[in-house]
Symmetry: C2
Subunit: 387 residues, 2 copies
DNA sequence: ATAGTTCGTTCGCCGTAGGAAGGAAGTGTG
DNA sequence: CACACTTCCTTCCTACGGCGAACGAACTAT
């Protein structure tokens, strides 16, 4: 301890390549859950000699837990290593008009803590106090925060953002990132759902998908080549604006298509068909009505035809291969989904599979987990310092 | 020199990081064209000591040429290094119904040799003899081959491929790759054009763009986040199939939109408006006619409206930010492009800039260059589109 | 000339990756 | 029960690449 003025040995690509090995081991362990060092050498291609100290570090940091020897089928048994999902926590914050909901999840997407708070004061303050409180002593393991805002996106399509009092999304993300010191992602809720279904739902087996979310408006989340694509202005997936019928007209930030075929628009027709309370789940109500009421059946067919044209349009432009129905569209029964599939197959230039999304309300959470984990990992995307 | 039995030292991440440095130097040199070692240290972040041997190698391999000392403004003058585009050659092969055209270009996209040959015998044989012949003694510098086929793409949308006698694109690419020993990419010509405009045309300044190519059919090439995206079945950009008007009907692999608004369809109307020979450039003819003929003006307005709806549809789905008009659509004059821009701005949910593509016939070639260079750079694996 | 400045190179240290070899912990077999 | 045999993991050691530092090279300014 004479002269600690020495930080020579520049930290360039040397440390980076170590980081890369580290994260490749972590991600192998994350997907295998339980494995031995021997399996790690196969999965990562690293030599045993390289792995030994690396695994030692990871155990010390809590990423891996040594579980003692496993069964052996001749020879020394493999020491079982178990991945500890709690080693990586993620916060998902959903902005809603009057409140924010905040969840802490581990890297399996299992919710560890959950809270909803009224919107008071500054959003950034609110988030920056709620998240650490909720994370408690797990805070050091926090790897990222994902903030979901309805219809956010830079540039166009802020139509829903005003409802949560957000004009610019970016400053919020940057502020939180600075205050909490972890990567923060702010994105459209529909994009997060798409990421969630891709990571842990009905799209784990494909690289491309489109999630069609029908609610008060209609929006789509787009995964291409394994990544959520937002387009140049963040308005990718604004399919409610598709001009599929010259007769339709949008207004005030409502697109022409969604003006007529969103859950809200359908609800009005359902009320007309079956007077009474406005149904909370209009599509489910419509499907039930259609079983007995001929006029409802005809209208359901109209809805399916319109949605099919929407899906075909998307297929023509980006050919997602798989389309997931979310929100009100997930309320269709099997028969209706089949009819939709038939209509889509007739019009799409390439095979396009239509099915329901499976994560429901959990989709945003899983998307947040996936974002946050890849954000933490991508810190080392470039081996070399930027130009 | 006793026992030179030692080639162990496994080629894992050690050599990779060297490769990365190498290619980062090459790409810096490629974009700067002329630079000194001192500039390389700034551009790449590598230390001078690391660069010295690396640059020596590159000079020996012909990538760089030392041009002697440059001007100095105090101190030792920088030794000028010039990037040698001839060090990296690329072959672009275009499949047409009756012939194939083959070009050798350097990494600037400058054509070094060109030949058109009649289609005789096996395509693979033809390519594998024509390319080496044309490359001549530059063959060792060949970094890749790009094969452009109209409407290829695996899965759906093989509508134009039969015209060149190709049912499956992949085997051709794989065979050529095996025979020539360099990376081979087979792709849709429109995708190649989009890549070309992105690399060297009207899209060098953006990460996302959509190239709308109007010919006998209508197709689009899609660049998102700097990469050409083909979709799950390779049918991304089949915008001719968009169902934008319930009245339109496609037939026999012709989409509903392109049946009515392609160059061929427009040509028929132009003939009706101004009897005579069927014009080779119907859109140009229409624009000229519209200056004097009122009916032609009305029809031009119709065409612009239809194309605008097409562009808006694409903007809603993927928000490319910039749309390039190619093929017959590039024949619009400035006034017509402005009108199109206005129509698009009125309907798109996000700012979308419409302009003409600039590379014309050279677009495919530049796309091929860009593909082949990135193929050589990323060294790894399947550059063939689609599973 | 001499000093000053900037470029490029050689030298040598250091850290890391991974090969080789050896210890550890089991299962089968005489 | 001893003794191979197999497989897993670790320790030792070497080769190699990156880069800091010092040095030589080339030119300007005074």
């Amino acid at each position: 301890m004479t002269d600690v003025v020495t930080p020579p040995t520049s930290p360039v690509s040397r440390e980076r390549s170590k980081e890369i090995k580290r994260s490749s081991v972590i991600s192998a362990a994350r997907s295998a859950r339980v494995l031995s060092r021997a399996e790690l050498t196969e999965l990562t291609g690293l030599s045993p000699a390289t792995l030994t100290p690396l695994v030692r570090d990871l155990i010390a940091e809590g990423y891996l837990i040594e579980r003692g020897p496993g069964a052996s089928r001749a020879g020394r048994p493999r020491a079982i290593l178990e991945f500890n999902p709690r080693a990586e926590l993620v916060a998902a914050v959903a902005l809603e008009p009057a409140r924010i909901s905040c969840e802490i999840a581990d890297s399996d997407g299992a919710v560890i803590a959950h809270r909803t708070v009224r919107r008071t004061g500054d959003i950034v303050d609110l988030i920056c106090t709620a998240v650490p409180e909720l994370a408690g002593d797990g805070l050091p393991a926090l790897r990222g925060v994902a903030i979901a805002a309805p219809g956010v996106s830079t540039g166009g399509a802020v139509r829903l953002a005003p409802s949560v009092g957000l004009v610019e999304a970016r400053p919020v993300g940057e502020s939180v990132q600075r205050r909490l010191g972890v990567p923060v992602v702010v994105d459209n809720d529909v994009n997060l759902m798409a990421a969630g279904e891709h990571a842990a739902g009905a799209g784990t087996d494909v690289a491309d998908l489109l999630l069609l979310h029908v609610a008060d408006g209609i929006g789509a989340g787009l995964v291409l080549d394994g990544q959520v694509r937002r387009g140049s202005g963040g308005a990718a997936g604004e399919v409610g604006f598709l001009p599929l019928d010259p007769a339709d007209r949008g207004h005030d930030g409502i697109g022409p298509f969604e003006a007529r075929w969103s859950a809200g628009a359908i609800a009005e027709r359902v009320v007309a068909l079956a007077p009474g309370r406005r149904p909370a789940a209009p599509v489910r109500a419509l499907v039930e009505l259609a079983a007995t009421d001929e006029r409802a059946g005809a209208y359901l067919a109209e809805v399916l035809t319109a949605w099919a044209r929407l899906i075909v349009s998307c297929a023509c432009v980006i050919d997602p291969g798989r389309v997931l129905l979310s929100g009100a569209a997930a309320d269709l029964d099997d028969a209706a989904v089949d009819r939709l599939q038939t209509l889509v197959s007739a019009g799409a230039p390439s095979p396009t599979e239509v099915r329901r999304a499976v994560l429901g309300d959990q989709a945003v959470l899983h998307g947040a987990v996936s974002y946050a984990l890849s954000a933490a990992a991508s810190g080392l995307s470039t081996l070399l310092p930027a130009p």
